[in-house]
Point group: C2
Chain length 261, copies 2
C-alpha cells in the first residue's frame, strides 16, 4: 500500500516520561487523538506505533529485563513489563476511540520472534485491519527472544519492519524535538533546523561532521533507517499543536527526509 | 508437550457476568490466582485461556459486532470490543502476577485469521514462552475475519486449537457448573453428576437421550471437542474453593473425559 503512513508517537509525548512510576499524560493523549482524528481523512491507510515512556523505562532499568531471562524473578518481571505496555495501550486507544478513531490494539509480542533484533512478526492481521478501514495501534514491548528468553522490541524497531513488510509510503516520527539541527540548539544559538535532506551524507555534512549523534537527540539513527528503506519520512515535534495534522497532511513540519534511490 | 495443560477460566468466574457494564470480579480473581499459584508446581507447562463475561457479551449484544463490519460505527465497536478484552486481561494478569504466577498476556487477535471459524493463529511465541517457564494467558476476542471483517474468537474455540497445535495432554474447563449431569439438576432432584465418560455415545446415553444439550448448560459441545481431540479433559466448577488446585493436580473433580482412540 504505497499511500500507507506509519505514525510513531514517542513515549515522551503520551506519558510523563521523567516519572519513576507509570504515568499517562492524558492531556497530551487527548490532543494527539484529536489531531489524528482531524488528519486521518487525508490518509488512505494509517498505522500508529507508540512508545513506552514511564511505562517502560523505569521497570526495564530497575529489573534489567532487557538482558534476558535467567531466573524466576526475571519471568515475573518479563510478564509485568508486558502487562504494563498493554495497560498504556489500553488507556491510549480508549482516548483515540473516544475521539472517533477506530484504533485497534495489536500486541506485537503476541507474534514477534526476536534474536537480539526482530526476526519476524505476523503482519497479515495488520493488513486485514487496514483493508477494513481500521487503524492498527502497535507499541514497544518486551518480546520472546530465541537466544536469551526476552529482549526489548522498541517502537522505533517496529516502525521500519512494518514499513518494509507492508510497503508503506511514509513514516512519521512524532518526537519531543523539532527535528534535526545543524548542532545542539540548547548549546548553540546559531543551530538551524534542517528542513529537508536526501541522504545520510548530506545530514552528516550539515551537522558539522560531529561524531556525536546525541547532539540531535539520537535522531540520526531514525534518519538512517528512513534512508535505508528508500522511502520518505519526517521527524517532527508531536507535542506542538497542529504538527500531527500537518505531518498527516504532508505539509511542512520538522525535518523531511526524501530518500533518493 | 504431552504434559502441557490448558486451563480455561470462564468469563462467569472472573467477571460479574450478569452486569450490563464491564465488571471484574476481583474477589474471584484473587481466589483463582491463588489456586493457580498453588497448583502450578504440579504441572510442567500451563496455558491459561479466559472468557469475557460482562466485558464481552453486553457490548457484542448491543452492537451486533459478531455479525461483521458494514459501516463506520462497526469499526469503532470492533476496536472498542477488543480494547475492553485487553483491559480485562490486564486486570486479571495483574492479580495473577501479584500472586507470583508469571502470567504473560498474549492477544490472540494480534495474529488470528478467521473465516467464520479460526483459520490460523501464531503459536511459536506461545511455545517459546512455555519453554521459558512462563504462563501464556490468552482470551476470547473479536478478531479479523477474511470474509466479513470481524468475528468472535471465543476462549472455547482457542482452547482446542492450542491443544492441537501444541500437542497438549489435558484441557481443563473451569466453568460455573459442577460438570455434566444425567439431567438438569435444577429441575430434576434425581439428576446425577457423571464422573467419567469415554465417548460422546456414552454421554448421550447417560443424559437420557435428551436432544436438548442445554440441560447441561451447553456443556456437551465442550465434551465433544475434547473427545474429537482424543485427549483427556475435565469440566468442573472453578468457583468452588479448591477445585482449580484439584484439576491442576489431576485429582477427581467434576466430569472427567477420558478419550479412547
Amino acid at each position: 500500500m504505497k499511500d500507507l503512513k506509519i505514525l510513531k508517537i514517542g513515549g515522551s509525548i503520551i506519558t510523563k516520561k521523567d516519572r519513576d512510576n507509570p504515568s499517562p499524560d492524558l492531556e497530551q493523549m487527548e490532543k494527539v487523538a484529536e489531531e489524528i482524528k482531524e488528519g486521518i481523512s487525508n490518509v488512505s491507510g494509517l498505522i500508529l506505533v507508540h512508545g513506552a515512556g514511564s511505562y517502560g523505562h523505569p521497570i526495564v532499568k530497575r529489573t534489567g529485563i532487557n538482558k534476558g531471562i535467567t531466573n524466576k524473578e526475571d519471568r515475573i518481571n518479563f510478564a509485568e513489563t508486558q502487562r504494563l505496555q498493554n495497560e498504556l495501550n489500553s488507556i491510549f486507544t480508549e482516548v483515540l476511540i473516544g475521539k472517533g478513531v477506530p484504533a485497534f490494539p495489536v500486541q506485537p509480542s503476541a507474534s514477534a520472534i526476536m534474536e537480539g533484533k526482530l526476526e519476524r512478526m505476523d503482519v497479515e492481521v495488520i493488513n486485514g485491519l487496514l483493508d477494513e478501514g481500521l487503524v492498527p495501534v502497535l507499541y514497544g514491548v518486551p518480546a520472546y527472544d530465541r537466544e536469551r528468553g526476552c529482549s526489548i522490541l522498541s517502537g522505533d524497531e517496529i516502525m521500519p519492519y512494518l514499513a518494509r513488510e507492508l510497503d508503506a509510503g511514509t513514516v512519521l516520527h512524532g518526537t519531543n524535538v523539532d527535528g534535526i539541527y545543524t548542532s545542539d540548539p540548547n548549546e548553540n544559538p546559531d543551530a538551524e533546523l534542517i528542513e529537508k535532506v536526501e541522504s545520510m551524507e548530506e545530514v552528516r555534512d550539515r551537522v558539522g561532521g560531529s561524531k556525536d549523534t546525541d547532539v540531535t537527540g539520537g535522531m540520526l539513527n531514525k534518519v538512517e533507517e528512513i534512508v535505508d528503506m528508500g522511502i520518505s519520512g519526517r521527524i517532527f515535534n508531536a507535542s506542538r499543536p497542529g504538527n500531527i495534522i500537518k505531518a498527516l497532511c504532508g505539509e511542512e513540519v520538522g525535518t523531511y527526509i526524501e530518500s533518493v534511490d
